[in-house]
Every structure is written in C-alpha cells, then in structure tokens.
C-alpha cells in the first residue's frame, strides 16, 4: 500500500496534514506534529502585525464539537520567521496567512516563501475575525483578486481555504480556479455561538466563534463533493476528521489530502492512527494508492 499522494506538484508521504491553528503558534509545536506522522503542517494564520487574538474565554469543547474564537492570535509575520524556520527544518510546512487586501496577502505570502514554506494557504474563511477571513472570502471577485495577486508574488503553490458558511461555495471555488489558484482547502469552521443560560450571555468573549470537530464533518464532506464536481484543481479536505474512515469520506468525495485539527484533542498520535487505518483499509479493499480513491463517490 502506498500512502503517498500529491497536491498538484507537491508530493506528500501520506495524506494527513496538520490544520491551521492547532499547536502551530510555535515552530517547535509544528516540528512535533511532523515527527508524529503528519506529512506536512499548516502554520498558524499569520498577519502583518502582532495580534493577541480575542480575550478568554475563546474555546469550549462539547460532546461532538468544539467552538473557538481565538481571533487569529499571532506574533506578526516579522517575528514568525523564526517559528517557520524551526518547523521547515523538520519537514514540509505550509504558511497560512490572513489579510484584508490582495496586496497585503501577496506581501505576507512572499514572506512565507522566504521563510521556507512549501506552499502558502490563504485564510479566506475564518468566521470570527472582523475584516478578515470569510468577510473577504465570500465575495468571488475579491477572492479572484487576492488569489491573482498572490500567484504573481510567489512561486510556491497557492492554496485557498474556503468557508462553508455560504450558498455560493461553487462560485468561490470557480473564482479560485480562474485566478490560477493551485488548490482549495475546505472547510474552515462554521460560524456559531454558545449561550450560557445561567449567565444569560454568550460564552465566547467574541460572542461568535467557529464550530469544528465531528459535528461539521458531514458539511465538510458535502463541500468537498460540491467543489470536486465544479473545479479541476486539487482539493484538500478538512473538518471533523477523527479516524481513517472520516479521512476516507473526504478522499472519496474528492480530496487528495486531508487536514486534521480538533482531533488532536485525542492525542498527537492521531496522524499515525489515521495513516495506519488507511493502510489496512486499502489492503482489504484493494486500493493500491490514495489516488485511486480520490473522488470515487462521484461514480
């Protein structure tokens, strides 16, 4: 069984990538995940300036899902250089960036390339950061301009991470493809809220947050399925993957690789476990490569 897969020109040892925002604020955090069996790690989404993110409370886990509103905390692109270099020395790192204009995106992406990123991931999808994320990522024209600007600025592959909080996901996917984007990552979290009745107010300091974990998997699989039927660039699936069968849902829906976030709660060995499960499954069901499984659910 061969777990290797490729996202366009980028070849990965296995399909499992660390999702952005998970243990990746520091270079050593990413390095550890790379040692734990992930084929690559996506960095924390980094902006131009240092950002402490939203105040606590900004995270809660419930049965079946997590809600977070970290608010994109990061030390700023300048300071992040060291973290990227530490991580990139240990394996493949994808630099995630957020910005509010095409120029700023292009600038940040260029820095990530300089720092040794093997690809850049554009955060067009965070649901709880005013002026960023899905606020720029639900306008197909804006998305097109951002992707074009970044494509002009870097020579590494450009991935666009999209939001499921829209009825025009296919249009946005098309915009990415039209602008020359190299891959689409889907999904980011669902815009959500938790209220504490005893206090009569929202739990998260930011009120709104993003839903992740098992609960969003059926939405993510659907999004990947929808995109696969619309674009021909590679798709990376993410959202609620907790085991190999979840990863297979995404792969069969059309993803050539997957990202794992919330399931790191169950341990950093999740990457090894998923890869082990995939190997056994492929042996039992006669799939020689990951590629043979990509998109089969469309047949």
């Amino acid at each position: 069984m061969d777990l290797r897969t490729s996202v366009g020109s980028l070849v990965l040892d296995n399909p499992c990538i660390l999702a952005s925002g998970i243990m990746d604020e520091t270079g050593e955090g990413m390095a550890r995940i790379l040692r734990s069996g992930a084929a690559a790690a996506v960095s924390k989404s980094v902006g131009t300036n240092p950002n402490p993110g939203h105040a606590n409370p900004n995270f809660i886990e419930e049965e079946g899902f997590c809600l977070n509103a970290m608010g994109l905390p990061n030390p700023g692109i300048e300071e992040y250089a060291g973290e990227m270099r530490t991580a990139a020395a240990c394996g493949k790192v994808i630099g995630s960036v957020y910005a509010s204009s095409p120029e700023e995106f292009a600038d940040l992406a260029g820095r990530m390339e300089d720092y040794g990123a093997c690809a850049v991931e554009l955060n067009l999808s965070c649901p709880h950061a005013a002026g960023f994320g899905m606020e720029v990522g639900t306008d197909p024209l804006m998305v097109k301009r951002i992707v074009s600007a970044v494509k002009d600025a870097v020579s590494i592959p450009v991935w666009s991470k999209l939001t499921p909080n829209t009825h025009i996901l296919k249009d946005i996917g098309k915009a990415v493809e039209d602008a020359g984007g190299d891959a689409i990552v889907a999904i980011n979290t669902l815009r959500a809220m938790k209220i504490i009745p005893e206090f009569g107010r929202p739990f998260l300091s930011n009120r709104f947050g993003g839903l992740s974990g098992s609960a969003v998997r059926p939405v993510g699989v659907r999004a990947v399925y929808d995109l696969y039927s619309t674009v021909s660039i590679p798709i990376i699936g993410v959202g609620g993957i907790c085991g190999y069968r979840d990863a297979l849902e995404y792969i069969m829906a059309g993803a050539c690789a997957v990202q794992i976030g919330t399931a790191v709660l169950s341990g950093t060995d999740i990457f090894r476990k998923v890869n082990g499960g995939l190997t056994d499954f492929m042996r039992e069901y006669g799939y020689p490569t990951i590629g043979e499984m990509v998109g089969v659910a469309h047949e």
């Binding site: 998970i22 955090g29 809660i60 997590c66 970290m70 700023g76 739990f203």
Partner: protein, 253 residues
Amino acid sequence: MNSIVTVTGKSDFGDICSLSFNWDITVGPGQFVMVWAPGMEEIPLSLSSVGDVKSVTFRIVGRDTEALRKKGIGDSLSIRGPYGNGYRTDGSRRVLVVGGGIGIAPILPLMADGFDTALAARNAGELDFALPAIGKAAGKTWISTDDGSRGFCGNAVQLVQEILKEQEYDEILACGPEVMLFFLHKFCVDNGMKCQMSLERHMKCGAGLCGSCMIDDKRVCADGPVFTCDEISGMKDFGHSKRDPCGTRVLFR
C-alpha cells in the same frame, strides 16, 4: 464541556482568596480548571481541594483575579476541565512536597493525602491561607519565610536542603514561581533526586489545541502542567523565556 457551579464557601486571607463549590467530577492533585464568570476573562486555576467539595485558591494579581474575588456564596461560576495530567504518586517512593507562594494552593490536595510538605513564602501573612490545611496535615510539615517572620528563615530551596539533613526522600513534587522551580530543579539534578514540577504558561484553550502555552514542544496544559525532572532538563525555555498572548517569545527579566 463547562459546568456551571455554585460557590458554597469562601475565605479571604489578605490578597489570597479561596472559593469552594460542589462539582461531581474526579480530579487528581495538580490538575487545573479554566474558571470564568461574566465580567472577567477566563483564567486557569489549579484545584486546591479535590474531594467531594472542590476549591480554587488564588492570589489577586490583576483584573480577573480581582473580579473573581468579588464572587460570594450563591454565585455561579463556569468551570471547564479538569485539564492537565497532575502529579503521579504510586506510593513506591518517599516523597517530599514543596510549595512556594501561591504555588502552595495546588499542592494542598497532596498535603491532604498525607505527604510530608515544605511550604515557603515571603512572609508569615502569605502563609495564612495554608494554616487550616497545615493544622489538619497527617504528614510532617515545614515552613520557611524569606523574612523569617514564620518558621525557617530562607527560601524554598534552602528549606529543602535543611529538611534533607534530617530526613531522606526519593522524589520532590513542587509548585511555585518558575525561578524557585529553576533552582529546585537544578538542586534535584545535582543531587540525583527525582522530581515533578507544575509549570505555568499563558493559556487560552487549556485543552491542548491552540498551542499558546508551549514550552519547547510541550503543551503545558495537556502534556503538563506537571513535568518530570527529565522532561524539564530538556526544556530550553524553562527559566529562560515564555510566550505572550500573541505567541511572541518574551525573555524572563
């Protein structure tokens, strides 16, 4: 999952406050919770008792601890957790527990379990909150203050050196300011003693996801907060630097 608990007891000792509440969850000594109520930021606090009635004991150092101290009996708190690994004790080793300053709070459950304990503080007043527990302690207890106003005059490491003159131990379980732990760790390494130490970093999720509490490649919230002597020996950041809420590295003074 957070629980909404009701404060059932409160004590105030100068700038140290203790709130107790019923919370029907199994917790081990050294584990912590994320505590919140409207009007404050959520903060990590260790449990200072882990029986049927749980408690947190905290020093007022800023806005959120100040807000928390305003809570009284009957008020509701949001409690997330318990998080972290806690101290591992299996009865096979002779253990000395060492607490420094507000770092005494997390080791009170160990004291309640009957372990011998060394408590260090700046002055007598800062030990007041521990007196009820000392009164009930089944194990031996030693006390030191920086100014000699109560017990031995000296710091935690000096107290431990004194204790080891009269009594043998295989392992030290400690909590306190990082500078104290730094020298205590060095002492353990130099003297071939095992140790477990509870560390602190800025926490957001508390659950091991967000990566804001990293020391080197370890998450204090999920891989710790209690680390072994060997784990700590490998930490470049220990006693040297921490991360601010942006993730920027900040050197200790």
